[in-house]
Symmetry: D2
Subunit: 383 residues, 4 copies
């Protein structure tokens, strides 16, 4: 695994736990943790239980005893590592967003397509698909329980930037983070909406905005926290992104990504309405799904809170008895399981790098639309 | 109408509004408001729109142009007025509790039974039965949608006494109020549970308790409010009543009435569980009913929040278009409607005085059980 | 009162009930109900309790014993009646939307401005402002409890058109209804968002769409219901309107109005986020308001469900004891009260016709933006 | 670790994960899994990652390289293993209920008290205390945020027995399971209520009942599932337990444990009300806590949904960034952490065996009360 930030902890937990609950066709081993800072990576490896460490990912890719490269570095290094790994015949799991630009993402998708022809597979890490309630939502739509889809509402609401004196972290600087709320959390909303409905966004009209344009410079940054300096700098990414999307199916969807929704901590929400029903999901209550069945007799229709903790639900049978809840990190175990199963079966895991590219194009189209006065912008035109 | 307190306002609103929305077989007119204080009753009559006032209910009962007596006085005068009115051939609507003792309630029930033989009817005002969601809950049980009933949970939670320095109002003195939380709000929980399940309580085991045993004496009391004196007096009614009941059907139910449930303003709650489903009602959200259908396929079962605001639901078609909510007072309009319809049809309105007597017996059985160390106590043994 | 549809019933209830609960400086009397069909208007007058009827509103306006004209006719007749009434020196309460076009609305606003100089006042009926929880939301914002406003989310979700075979009612035909979801329910979302935040929308970028473009022709239409014919016709209004708005304050808001949100019956929702707090309102639970206080110590912050049923809350003290809920129609009583009080005091009631015109301009700007590929469009440019 | 059922998986996950997130003074290693069936225990050890297996716990206790014995066997073997392990100088973690009888529990508590004098510690596994929201609830009470406690409501609601044709599993037979809903889930409600309030139950009055008294015999039972035979047998444990308890503090609490609450999957609920506030917890939504602060200004009081996912909350800082949820199993990691920390510090971990004994006495008192017509029964009298 290359990288050892927050996502490193999450992926480690996924690899560690998946084989303890699922019967996998191959047992993943946590071999080598890679990072540039030898001391820090060694400490992380000890903490998370990786057997070895390395400071140069190129050497790791060259090793014969390595089958899988898991990339959890910042987005600007994804393309280089992933393409090299695929060319070296390693299966790749790469954290989202696939890259910091459509151009890089396209190179990665191309590399993945070529590798797949040789039986080497790549997957991008939109783990929220693998929250059981989200997977179950997709199953309901796919089974026709919502009928013809009428409209979609997707949002990802956080509030960790509402204090105007919060320091100018790297995530608020475009040259480092690529994008703000749009790419960091909006990407999840886009992937989830497309995944659950089974339809891709064709075009968008949007607005992105920066609410607090200047913040104190950060000092002593480590991880997500930092202290504020007396000097101030410009926030160069978006704080909020609002857009309307037209799916290939013709359906309209509204999208919102914001870090200024006071009181919402991690609210990835999706509502899908159709001729036969509707569903509503909120990551803050990830063990349940709201489902409205419009085919029930009038008078007894209502949004049902389904506890998605029963053996009939995706992934659940492997865990605890009915009614026992899962948490945020379980999606990473499900991701590890699905990745291992697909690769062992010689099949393409999803979401593929092509899927990751398409999400990147949606984000680029939103930025482009915002730059041109919210004009409708085609997703596939993004280069 | 005899009496002009809070219930006077509610009953007035019921009489005023019912004929404007429902097509009634007879149109009630708001003729005479009766109260001992001529000045106060006159002000109330002006405010609420009563045509005349009187200070002696006996004179009103004697009038030929009066068909219905509505009694909203404190419980200690119910028996005398109601029995006299029934003997005078007037139909009677009497606010709950039917009386302050089982003995009085029995006299009233007997008088009502005799009157009914002559086509003169009496009804007691448990209006919460007529909240559409509560009526609909009964309909679901009656239609077998819950299957065999397994258990019942009923509570009425308020918090208006949590301040230990709140003054010793008349409702906290046994010689005036008869009972505390048990009679005032527990009675509603008992009636609702029996009504929805269609089964009566046969025996109970309970405990009543006074949490704050001494309070400042009240000064300048008017209505529900008063100011505190420096002298203190004893609280002689219960603050909380907890009991377990066995229904005639054999089912167990848990009951709770309290004015010390901090943060709960008016939470009359009922949950009924059965072999085929369950329901959950809360008066604080009176426009909805939670319904769980255990006959749906596993995986899609969940508590549904039914908005009980559709034309298919009880009473709703007469009001507003689908989705528009009702409030507390609408139960009084439904009560007026049901009373007028039953009387006009020459049939017994429900709940009858006999039903009111039975609730009184349940309350008496709880007090008796509490006095004897929570021993199980038969309801019908209460005299 | 001119008109006797659904809004006629609601306004009648407002006039009937307001003086029974509020101490008004003048007591409104329900004198004359006006409608073109003598028989139908007479039946409505009997039902709702109006003393007289008339078939020509011009005659009523000419009467000396009439002080107030309440207009609840379809939007296409508002301008003519309101302007004539104001010129005749009658105070006017006019149901929303103010008119079917910006042009007419402007004429009305001008007439109202002139009349106000003579002490004759006009008001437009956005009653949802007067739901206590909505009024209280405004109070919290005005008191600075949310700090600097960061963003707004407003939607009005209904589902009564999800059946593609529902007939082509008059509300689905542009020449009759003027607009679809946008004008009918989106107008409420716009007014509520502007009212609560105290800031007006300056520009918008939006998309309106018709999901079901053809429906069976309606036969035997009466009121909101009709039966379906075998012939089909075109739906010429929007089914869904999605737009982003920029307030004068610079804040961004997202707006959605739809009749295709399966399972949502009457969900007028508003969320406002600011530096010190946030609030969330939903008309389906109109007795409560969610409030997040970001100034509380970390760890105990959370969205509070405030039961807006306490004497400290707007309008509540006049109704029932704490904890007893109100319904949809109470907003009309509050409207009647506020109108009477303002007029009696010789002051302008709100929202004024100018406010109604501004909402009309917002709606026109959304349609214009949608026509021009969602380009940002100034509200005040709408003529 | 002795035992390898459902609790074996949960404890394994706790030991595996705790050192990866918490900095522990000693790192637990998963050495030996013990079970009578060599083949089955070997499979479980492979699955869960235990290094060795053994079939005789006595041999394991005798080993010098073993410091801790974790007991997850059925309750009837707890006493023998735990006492032997403590005498052998091993620290013991024992799953709840501590034993199947008060007598055995007392022997265990005595053994633990003697061992503690020698620096050898024992702990019983009420893990729900270690759900962060539950721990935080205790902290709020301990900090006086609820003021004087007025009353308690605790329940544990499940529904896995509502089908009368569900087979007669071992948990429904008294000679195997000891008790039904009372001991299995009621014990958790008792522990949680006592833990959060910091007060022990002094006496109880209760009723236990068996709703379905006869069921098909089970065939081919493995784990929690089995198939039904055509023969029927008697259910000898309780399906439902309802009791009222008086705490040492004088406060009354209502308790309910049931497997017949249709639609409730795993609803361990606790409400505590006090003079300054209230709280409400539900294990089905274990990442949040409802808190009502009665010291806030009137008008803005309400139950707040606190997302207990912030670094200020117990245990959370070690896991994920703010807003990311935990699941059922995290309590076991917290238990492992707290146990290791206490033992390493030479201090008594909680809950101790004495605490476990006291819960056992409460359960015995409930059964005794039920047998004597719900008479009030002292907890400490239970032998």
């Amino acid at each position: 695994m290359v990288g050892y930030g927050f996502m490193g902890a999450a992926h480690s937990q996924g690899w560690r736990v998946a084989p303890r609950f699922f019967d996998l066709p191959a047992t993943p081993t946590m071999d080598i943790l890679v990072g540039r800072n030898a001391e820090a990576v060694s400490a992380a490896a000890d903490k998370w239980g990786w057997a070895e460490t390395a400071t140069d990912w190129r050497e790791v890719i060259a090793r014969d005893d390595v089958d899988v490269i898991d990339i959890v570095t910042p987005g600007d290094s994804h393309a280089e590592i992933a393409i090299a790994a695929l060319e070296a015949g390693k299966h790749v799991l790469c954290e989202k967003p696939l890259a910091n630009s459509v151009e890089e993402a396209r190179l990665m998708a191309d590399a993945a397509a070529h590798a797949a022809e040789r039986g080497v597979y790549a997957m991008v890490g939109f783990t929220y698909r693998r929250v059981p309630a989200a997977t179950f939502a997709r199953d309901l739509v796919a089974a026709g329980r919502l009928g013809e889809i009428y409209q979609v509402r997707a949002s990802y609401l956080q509030d960790w930037l509402i204090d105007p004196e919060a320091p100018l972290a790297w995530r608020l600087q475009k040259h480092l983070a690529g994008s703000g709320a749009l790419g960091d959390i909006g990407a999840h909303a886009v992937d989830l909406a497309q995944y659950v409905t089974g339809s891709s966004l064709a075009s968008v009209s949007g607005t992105i905005d920066t609410i607090i344009r200047e913040r104190p410079l950060a000092e002593n940054a480590h991880g997500l926290s930092a202290t504020a300096s007396t000097e101030r700098g410009e926030v160069t990414v978006d704080d909020i992104a609002l857009f309307t999307g037209r799916f290939e199916s013709g359906v309209l969807g509204s999208f919102e990504a914001t870090r200024f929704s006071t009181g919402r901590k991690n609210a990835l929400r999706l509502e899908v309405s159709g001729s036969k029903g509707a569903l509503s999901f909120d990551l803050e209550n990830l063990n349940s799904l709201e489902f409205y069945d419009a085919t029930l007799p009038a008078g007894t229709q209502g949004f049902s809170t389904i506890q998605v903790t029963e053996p009939e639900h995706p992934y659940i049978a492997a865990w605890w008895p009915a009614g026992h809840t899962l948490g945020y990190e379980h999606g990473f175990a499900h991701q590890a399981k699905d990745f291992v199963e697909a690769v062992a079966a010689g099949s393409q895991p999803t979401p593929s790098f092509a899927d990751g590219l398409q999400v990147q194009q949606v984000l680029a189209a939103v930025e482009s639309s915002s730059d041109s006065g919210s004009a409708w912008t085609n997703v596939t035109d993004q280069k």
